[in-house]
Structure formats: structure tokens, C-alpha cells
Amino acid sequence: MAMAAEAKFHVLAVDDTLIDRKLIEKLLKTSSYQVTAVDSGTKALEFLGLNNKERNSKADASVDVEVNMIITDYCMPGMTGYDLLREIKGCSSLKDIPVVIMSSDNIPSRINRCLEDGAEEFFLKPVQLSDVNKLRPHLMRSRSKPNINKRKAAEEIVSPDRTRTRFNQAEERSSSPN
């Protein structure tokens, strides 16, 4: 099924609660995903954006910190999971990353709104291994799209301080989310 030594999928987990962060991290690692866990939507966006600034300035940043999926709690202070979803879907270079929302409250209107606005799945907490198993198809689907993200991002690089583009590595996302 897997081709020659594919890198692990990298999931960015966002939750303001330490217990739930620890839990989701364990669930994801048990399922053989690489995990980065942050405690706010703001930090998530920084992580998604900062990577690119760093890689931009390195000669050969072969360390690929591409994010293949974002799984986020809904109820967070400041930027909610829904706000984060909207930010990601509204950013041309991030919008193809699948986003999953988690919530402890079973509110159908909330669930529908998230799904309608681009979330792939909505999990009720506490999240189970069986939920995490549902992620793989979304990840496989994204990966099988031939470098769509990379190509798109390359096309969008217009800022003058970028002197070169690299087409064979995970491309920088565009400079800032809208």
C-alpha cells in the first residue's frame, strides 16, 4: 500500500486544555502520526506561518515540517476552533489542509456549521481511537493529490524578498493568512 518509505503524516493538534492535548497527542502517536500540539489558534497559525519564514531564510532547509492535517478543539478562549477553521480555509495556501473539529458539546447547529464551512469531520469528546482511525482516508486523499499545495504555493510567490523558489520541497505558504 505505502510506497517507498513515506514520511509519517504530521498532524497539528490544537487544544487549550492540557489533559486533552495530552490525550489527543497519545491517540495520534499510537496511530503512527507525527504530532505537534499547541494550546491556541493563534499559536497554530504561527506554526503554520512561521515554518515558512524560517525555511525561507535557510539555504537548504530540507527539514520538512509540512502539516498534513489540523485537529482542533472548538471551545477555546480568544480564537475558537471555528475561527481557526475559517482562517485556514480563507488562506489560499492553507485551505487544502484537512481540518477536523472536536467538541465536548453535542450541538447539531454547531456541528453542521463546521462541516459546511469545510471541516472534514467533527468528533465529540472524549475522542476515541475509533475516531482517529477515520482520519486516515482524509490524509491519504490529500497526499495522493500530486503536489497540489506545493505547486499552488510556488505560483503565488510574488514577494520581492524571495529570491528563489524550490519546486521539489514543501513550498512556503503565502506570507500571511488573510
Binding site: T17, L18, I19, D20, K22, L23, K26, L27, T30, C75, S104, K125, P126, Q128, L129
Partner: protein
């Protein structure tokens, strides 16, 4: 006491916690996630729950003691407590939190105070039970035995 006896005691004790509703399936999920790469996973997560809960119970006590109670604030704390208790499978604590939130919504101070009392009770009960459970596990491991997996057949 022989290892086998402690193991049996642990199994019976754990089963009783499920029967009496102190713990639910989520706790089993935590145990299933524990492995050699993270042998203290359950204890770590539960310890976080203890720390978190004690902080929240303090804040709730203070918040409900105010002349003008900020029910939104109270609800926020209860929401958090409900979340963390649910995440570790502390079912009875979680259930009180559900009732507690309903009282917050209608701004019923008496109901809230009663729930606060109840949730403290349930918290200290489950804390006690879990500490006993962990102690039994430690005894087994110290005697060179392995911790039996509980089959609950849910």
C-alpha cells in the same frame, strides 16, 4: 500477600468502580493507550485531572461566594471540569457537572451551591478510589507481577 492475590484484588476493585459508576469506558480507553513507550500514561493524565480539578473547585467556591455571582464565569469553570472528568472517565463527577451547568444557565444559586457540594464529594471519592487503584498497581509491579487488563465486555 502473594502477587496473584493482589492482582485479583485489583481486578475486583476496578470492576467495582465501573459497577458503581465511578468510572466509565473512557478510563479503559486510557489504559489501552498506555504502553511500554509511556508506561505511566494513565497516572500522568489522572494527576493532571487532580491538579486541574482542585484548582477549579477552589475557583468555583470563590465565584459562588461573591455577592453578585457571575454565572457565566461559574459555567466556564464547570464546563472545564466536565471536560476533564469526561476525558479520564470520571463519570459521576461528569454527571454532576451536567446538572451544575443547567443551574448556571437558569442562574439558580441554590442549585449551584448544592451541585458544588456534590461535585466536591464525588471528586474526593473518585480521587480516593483512583489512588487506591494506583497503589494496588504499584504493589503488583513492585512484586514483579504484571498489571492485569480488565475485560469489561461493554
Amino acid at each position: 500477600m502473594e502477587v496473584v492475590q493482589i492482582q485479583r484484588r485489583l481486578v475486583d476493585y476496578t470492576k467495582s468502580l465501573f459497577m458503581e459508576g465511578f468510572l466509565d469506558g473512557q478510563f479503559l480507553q486510557l489504559q489501552q493507550l498506555q504502553d511500554e513507550s509511556n508506561p505511566d500514561f494513565v497516572v500522568e493524565v489522572v494527576s493532571l485531572f487532580f491538579d486541574d480539578s482542585e484548582k477549579l473547585l477552589n475557583e468555583l467556591t470563590i465565584a459562588l461566594d461573591q455577592p453578585n455571582v457571575d454565572f457565566k464565569k461559574v459555567d466556564g469553570h464547570v464546563h472545564q471540569l466536565k471536560g476533564s472528568s469526561s476525558s479520564i472517565g470520571a463519570q459521576r463527577v461528569k454527571n454532576v457537572c451536567i446538572a451544575f451547568r443547567n443551574f448556571c444557565e437558569v442562574q439558580n444559586i441554590e442549585g449551584c451551591l448544592t451541585c458544588l457540594q456534590q461535585v466536591k464529594q464525588e471528586y474526593y471519592l473518585v480521587k480516593n478510589k483512583l489512588e487506591t487503584l494506583f497503589r494496588l498497581e504499584q504493589q503488583i509491579v513492585a512484586s514483579g507481577g504484571s498489571i492485569p487488563m480488565i475485560e469489561m465486555g461493554f
